[in-house]
């Protein structure tokens, strides 16, 4: 067992860290968050050029075929820089669902090059967690293909997406199936809005949208498992970004305490604030350990162990992240509650992490259930 990054992982981390240092200042982050798509196409081009979009995609279809460990190394650095680009959604989550499918052979190269941006259109009204949300959207056979009908909710980057991965029920099938749909198809209407971190999401109406036979990625038998596995991977990648945000907040806050004064003393001299920083580090280290735990289970290959570890990591890292970034705000004082300092943006990034792909209650219960079965 060893935790030392490979040379490749080191290079990946260094180049990401350099990019964040040189190009991801808060001002440009605030601007891109206010832009129509909610992220920066300039960053997106860079990600593509660096091969970051291809990282986890299979080789042969434009991917580098690297694993989640590499993705975690990359995302931790990007998380420090408040990355807003749909890297994980498009490549890890949707790319994972496309891998090994016929449609993937044509679409994945575009994902790797950044020309295509993929978004998952799965949640519907009344759904809370992607793992177990009800699906009412329907897929009815039409010639060799299908027609999709229904309304999808809270599709992250749904407005910018070039393609949507849509869950829909086939008549009298138990589960749902997954389809890849060109977002420009006739019958698709999108209602976009802004999330707390600037991400654009959309509610998307599908009105008898025609899709070809090859666009059916997974049938009722396998779709839920495939999605569960892709979600687990996306959570691990996002958890690494969350950890990066926590590390950034530790540094920002320690620096702030050293530079500001109150009652004629530097804030750094107040024991209560020092101890808060110590508590924040304890939680950050716990979060990092849970990330390793999830990465180990991913590599281990036992599906149930992976699900247990990922749910555990999701729950604990969300708890730790909200504490660390929330206390980062507290230790900054008033300015921490403004958009003008980074700490509040990190806090909102952690709120996103905590609520997406199943909240803490959901994952604690999933973990407990799996542990009892275990």
């Amino acid at each position: 067992m060893n935790f030392d990054p490979s040379d490749e992982q080191k290079m990946l981390a260094d180049s990401a860290a350099r990019y964040v240092r040189e190009r991801c200042d808060l001002e440009s982050r605030r601007q891109s968050a206010k832009s129509a798509e909610g992220f920066s196409r300039r960053h997106w081009q860079h990600f593509a050029a660096q091969g970051w979009l291809a990282l986890t995609l299979p080789d042969g279809v434009g991917g580098l075929g690297l694993g989640l460990e590499e993705m975690a190394v990359l995302m931790e650095e990007l998380g420090r820089g408040l990355v807003a680009e749909p890297l994980v959604d498009s490549t890890v989550l949707c790319g994972g669902l496309l891998a090994g499918t016929t449609r993937g052979d044509t679409l994945l190269p575009l994902v790797a090059s950044g020309e295509a941006i993929l978004a998952l259109a799965h949640l519907e009204q009344g759904g809370r967690a992607e793992y177990d949300c009800p699906v009412a959207a329907s897929a009815t056979p039409d010639g060799d293909g299908w027609r999709l009908h229904g309304v999808k909710h809270l599709v992250c980057h749904g407005a910018a997406a070039s393609h949507l991965l849509v869950s829909a029920r086939e008549a009298d099938a138990a589960g749902y199936s997954l389809f890849a749909v060109d977002a420009a198809s006739a019958g698709i209407s999108r209602d976009a809005y802004t999330l707390i971190d600037g991400t654009r999401a959309a509610d998307i109406r599908f009105d008898q949208v025609p899709v070809a036979a090859a666009d059916r990625l997974h049938g009722p038998a396998g779709a839920a498992d495939a999605l569960g596995e892709a979600l687990d991977s996306a959570i691990v990648a996002n958890a690494a970004a969350a950890l990066g945000a926590m590390e950034a907040v530790l540094e920002l806050t320690a620096d702030y305490l050293k530079t500001r004064e109150q009652y004629g003393q530097p804030l750094a001299s107040f024991q209560a604030l020092k101890h808060r920083m110590a508590e924040m580090l304890v939680d950050t280290e716990q979060a990092r350990s849970m990330l390793y735990c999830a990465l180990a289970a991913q590599a281990g290959g036992d599906g149930n162990a992976r699900r247990r570890a990922v749910s555990g990591a999701k729950a604990l890292i969300a708890q730790a992240g909200l504490f660390v970034t929330g206390q980062g705000i507290q230790l900054h004082g008033g300015i921490g509650v403004t958009e003008e300092y980074a700490v509040g943006h990190h806090y909102k990034a952690l709120q996103m992490f905590a609520q997406r792909f199943g909240d803490t209650d959901f994952h604690l219960q999933r973990r407990a259930r799996l542990a009892l079965e275990h």
Binding site: Q125, A201, Y263, A272, I329, G334, T338, E339, E340, R356
Partner: protein, 398 residues
């Protein structure tokens, strides 16, 4: 010891409820209950004048200046009923902060000039206390006001001036005597339209602007705008804070939040059952309901001057600490009750314009903006850490 509300208070509550039911329409109630920051300026001005006609605008004022002459308990009941009924929040800077100060320390001319407009809500006030680098620490104020042919020439910079951009008037802490280190601080009334006053809006974490930076550049202020004697601002500030012993508990907002959380939990479902019946959720809600109920009793104890082993100022800090901790936890529970929908940010105007729809029920807008904004409540009005210092010192002599 008698721990029941007396009949007069119960009758008073019914009277207030009837008045509220008769004067609030659903649109106003909806906007109030979004709890966005800042709330609708128009609603507040309107509600201010409605209450003023009824003689209820300034419960805290002496009767001779327009106060209704209520007991502390009745004021508590009034605030609570207003919040639960969905009445607009009033502008506390004028009615709760500077108004009583002018009643107590102001000149007759100042009383005549300012009090009626505060009661009517036709003039809104901004507080100019904090400065960059002096958050909870007033001793290090730098803004100066130097006398020059019957005018104070004011120079300096204020931070966290809530609603400074929507205010006609402001009351500022300024140094009128540079020779004394701790003294020499006076409270000065400044017309926000004066030349040399500029405000910079500060975008808050909730995406709205509720507070401002105020720059004072050679602002000429008539000498008669000084409140009381020069250098007497400490007395006035202490008086002002003593008026507000219990308000920092934010108890009526806490009850309002509980009402909203129950509304969400009745509308949302989890594992096919109403969220309100989910074990984990119910445990968290019950815990918070209990702590809010306890906080309410803590407020009542202060209002009734209940006997205590500790000085009253300690009780105020205790209320502030637990009250703001509860604000954080209530916001988190509301957000968790909404689930991923809570990630959509409705700014104030988006919340007011939102039409209830199956995907976006009427209880969604405002929840997240309120949760985010209220992260500030453990910082403003004396940060949590400062409150703990105070308690250790005056309650335990540490």
């Amino acid at each position: 010891m008698n721990l029941q509300l007396n009949p007069e208070d119960l009758a008073f509550r019914d009277e207030v409820r009837a008045f509220l039911a008769a004067n609030l329409d659903p649109a106003v109630i909806y906007r109030s209950r979004t709890e966005v920051h800042p709330p609708s300026e128009a609603d507040r001005r309107w509600w201010n004048s409605v209450l003023n006609k009824r003689g209820w605008a300034a419960p805290g004022w002496p009767q001779r200046y327009g106060g209704p002459g209520w007991t502390p308990i009745q004021r508590h009941i009034f605030d609570m009923e207003c919040r639960l009924a969905g009445a607009p929040e009033l502008r506390w800077q004028g009615l709760r902060l500077i108004g009583p100060v002018i009643c107590e320390f102001g000149s007759e001319a100042q009383k005549a000039r300012y009090l009626p407009a505060i009661l009517e809500g036709s003039e809104q006030w901004a507080q100019g206390f904090s400065e960059p680098g002096a958050g909870s620490d007033l001793a290090s104020l730098k803004t100066t006001a130097l006398l020059e042919d019957e005018h104070y020439i004011v120079n300096g910079q204020k931070l966290w001036t809530t609603e400074g951009g929507d205010s006609e008037m402001g009351f500022f802490l300024v140094r009128t005597d540079l020779t004394s280190k701790h003294g020499g601080i006076s409270m000065l009334i400044i017309d926000m339209a004066s030349p040399g006053v500029t405000v910079r809006p500060i975008e808050m974490i909730n995406g709205d602007v509720s507070t401002y930076e105020v720059f004072l550049d050679n602002v000429r202020v008539p000498r008669e705008n000084l409140i009381g004697e020069p250098g007497s601002a400490w007395t006035q500030t202490k008086f002002l804070l003593n008026n507000e012993r219990t308000s920092s508990a934010d108890i009526d907002k806490a009850y309002g939040d509980l009402r909203r959380i129950r509304a969400i939990a009745s509308g949302e479902s989890k594992n096919g059952r109403p969220l309100l019946e989910d074990g984990d959720f119910l445990r968290r809600l019950t815990q918070l309901e209990l702590e809010v109920e306890a906080l309410d009793w803590s407020v009542l104890r202060v209002l009734c001057g209940a006997p205590s082993r500790r000085p009253p100022a300690a009780a105020a800090s205790v209320l502030k600490i637990r009250g703001s901790q509860l604000q954080h936890r209530l916001g988190e529970l509301a957000v968790d009750a909404l689930g991923p929908r809570s990630l959509r940010l409705f700014t104030r105007d988006q919340a007011f314009a939102a039409e209830p729809a199956p995907l976006w029920p009427g209880y969604v807008p405002g929840v997240r903006a309120d949760q985010l904004y209220m992260r500030a409540c453990t910082i403003y009005g004396g940060a949590m850490e400062v409150q703990k210092n105070i308690i250790a010192k005056i309650a335990f002599g540490l």
